[in-house]
């Protein structure tokens, strides 16, 4: 099977059986290069899939290719081009940060001198310049996270696998980590697979996602597609007197429902935001927020996993019937 350039990973009918568990079922994927989120509930098979993609475990049946290399037969070459930032502790006892990154580089085939140079550069990139000569086992959580990122970058990978990269970091640390991660594809053109339960992080970094559940692929594609944006509904927040506005809008032909402190306004045929604004001006109401209704990744996640068909954000479970041909995942 020949996959052209631009395909990050591909899997055909990958199955994996453990003793009593069917961990992956007929997983078939074709994912282009870019930043991709790997999502799914606990036990969905994400780590099994990652192990198979890295060639650390052969699938029971089926095949997978990553960056053009077959995952099972050319695993060593494949791992040359992949950097992995694990979720748990990962260090070699007795080494300081520079030594550890140098070692990491050497193990990828970089000559020692180059590895050491890269090691210093990469540690500067992740912001550990001041502490790089201290032993890694003495680091705080945030520093350990940064070292993990550094050792994944030393050999300049084409694909970066990140597993809960912001674990244990305080808000500033999370921010800095996410900034580093988003900067990488821009600078280097590498692809990223981000596995995380923190969906807002995934939204900030990735534009595509793979959603697994019980070993099967539930969704694979753009995040925007997964969320679904409705052109003809807007979410509106006002400073005061929302009822006045909703009354006026309903008279003007909109369907308005109130949720969580905001108004969801379904516009009539041919209407747009101007309608809302003009009504608000007439009524003397200050609009403080108006945006097309868009689901969060979280609600899309929940929806997809509960198997509800279509994504009508205006629907309450068991509530109003939708009448809109919205775009749902």
């Amino acid at each position: 099977m020949h996959y052209g350039p631009g395909v990050l990973l591909a899997a055909q009918q990958v199955n994996k059986h453990f003793a009593r568990v069917h961990a992956l079922r007929d997983v078939t994927l074709q994912v282009p290069e870019g930043s991709i989120g790997l999502l799914g509930p606990n036990g969905a098979g994400k780590s099994t899939l990652l192990k198979i993609l890295l060639g650390l475990m052969p699938p029971t049946s089926g095949a997978a290719q990553v960056l053009g290399f077959d995952a099972t037969s050319r695993s060593l070459d494949l791992r040359q081009k992949v950097g992995y930032m694990p979720e748990q502790d990962c260090y070699v006892a007795g080494l300081d940060a520079v030594e550890m990154c140098t070692y990491a580089g050497e193990l990828c085939g970089l000559p020692t001198r180059e590895a050491r140079e890269r090691s210093h550069a990469v540690l500067a990139f992740v912001g550990l310049e001041d502490k790089r000569y201290m032993k890694v086992q003495t680091y705080s959580t945030g520093q350990k996270q940064r070292v993990k990122l550094a050792q994944a970058l030393v050999h300049d990978p084409e694909l970066l696998l990140l597993d809960e990269p912001t674990n244990g970091l305080d808000p500033r640390g999370r921010d800095e980590m996410l900034t580093l991660i988003t900067e990488l594809p821009r600078r280097r053109g590498c692809s990223i697979i981000l596995s995380s339960h923190l969906l807002p992080d995934v939204e900030a970094v990735c534009d595509k996602a793979i959603l697994l559940n019980e070993g099967q692929v539930v969704f694979s594609g753009d995040i925007a597609e997964m969320r679904g944006e409705q052109r003809d509904a807007v979410e509106v927040r006002v400073k005061a007197e929302p009822e006045k506005l909703s009354g006026a809008l309903e008279q003007a032909g909109c369907r308005v429902s109130a949720r969580d402190g905001a108004l969801w306004v379904h516009l009539p045929e041919g209407g747009d935001a101007d309608l809302v604004f003009s009504q608000a001006l007439e009524q003397g109401i200050q609009i403080r927020h108006l945006a097309p209704v868009r689901q969060t990744l979280e609600s899309a996640f929940v929806r997809l996993l509960e198997g509800q068909p279509g994504g009508q954000p205006g629907d309450q479970p068991g509530g109003q019937p939708g009448g809109q041909a919205g775009e749902g995942g």
Binding site: L56, Q80, E87, Q88, D89, C90, A93, E114, A121, L153
Partner: protein, 290 residues
């Protein structure tokens, strides 16, 4: 010219082939071992016995010459040829140091890796299982060889150098050749089993205790009971004793126990082979990612 981009840059240099990994792993393990104060001390202290033995060898040879001049012919066999000091050194003197090295370096090694999550470090890279295993066993074997085979070779060469005639040298060549055969086996026996043991758990201290118990208790059981109860075959249980018997066989010395030589050899081979098998099996099943 202009402003330099200080940020992350791609790597455009050479890459070394996969087999260079062996060297990288071994080199790093050796430097980590050397960084430990205890290991350094052991290696340095381990150099002393050989000096003493060397002096004894020299003096003995002088004594033999003197005696044979005084009582021509009759003194044959009065003082034994000091060539056997080679075996005495490699076994009786150096085994303690070799054991300490295996305790400090080999026994904790894989358990530590499990604890610190180093598997994810190694195997996310182009490092195969074989690279990793050789990278664990070889450094220990090298250190043990340095501490045991090194002094023995030195003494063997000394014996040859002190040989009065070509014929004497020829008859003493066996010390050198024997060491070249015995040394590697010795190193493997002290390297593979503890590394295999260390793949069984997470706590380095526990594994070290286990290895020490196996080594010394088996020695006690084997030699103590065997000698006391006159059951020579029981001596096979003791790893050090097996090593001793095989050494005596290789150097052509009279064996300590009346056992056919195949048996201790077989025990040692089984030990080494079994350890290798255990390692390959354990590493096949280790979780790399959560």
């Amino acid at each position: 010219m202009g402003i330099r981009d200080m940020g992350y840059k791609p790597y455009e240099g050479d890459l070394l082939p996969h087999r260079s990994r062996y060297r990288v792993l071994i080199r790093r393990a050796l430097s980590l071992a050397w960084a430990s104060g205890l290991v350094k001390t052991t290696l340095i202290l381990g150099a002393f016995p050989v000096v003493i033995c060397g002096v004894v060898m020299f003096l003995k040879l002088q004594a033999i010459q003197y005696v044979s001049k005084m009582a021509a012919g009759q003194a044959q066999g009065l003082i034994s040829d000091p060539g056997d000091l080679v075996f005495t050194t490699i076994y009786w003197c150096q085994i303690w140091f070799a054991f300490v090295i295996s305790l400090l370096v080999a026994a904790p090694t894989i358990a530590e890796d499990v604890r610190t999550g180093a598997f994810q470090f190694y195997f996310a890279r182009p490092v195969s299982r074989n690279h990793y295993l050789v990278g664990k066993v070889a450094p220990v074997a090298i250190l043990v060889a340095i501490i045991s085979m090194g002094p023995a070779l030195a003494l063997a060469i000394l014996r040859l150098a002190l040989a009065g005639s070509g014929a004497e040298a020829a008859s003493n060549l066996k010390w050198l050749l024997g060491t070249l055969v015995y040394g590697p086996l010795y190193a493997l026996v002290l390297a593979l089993p503890p590394v295999a043991l260390s793949s069984l758990g997470r706590r380095a201290g526990g594994i070290q205790g286990l290895w020490a118990s196996i080594f010394f208790l088996s020695w006690l059981l084997g030699e103590g009971v065997a000698a006391g109860a006159n059951l020579p075959y029981l001596a096979l249980l003791s790893i050090p004793t097996d090593l001793r018997l095989v050494g005596q066989l290789i150097y052509g010395l009279p064996p300590a126990y009346a056992i056919p030589w195949v048996l201790p050899a077989a025990v040692l081979l089984a030990l080494v082979g079994g350890s290798a098998y255990l390692l390959l099996r354990r590493l096949g099943r280790v979780e790399v990612f959560s």
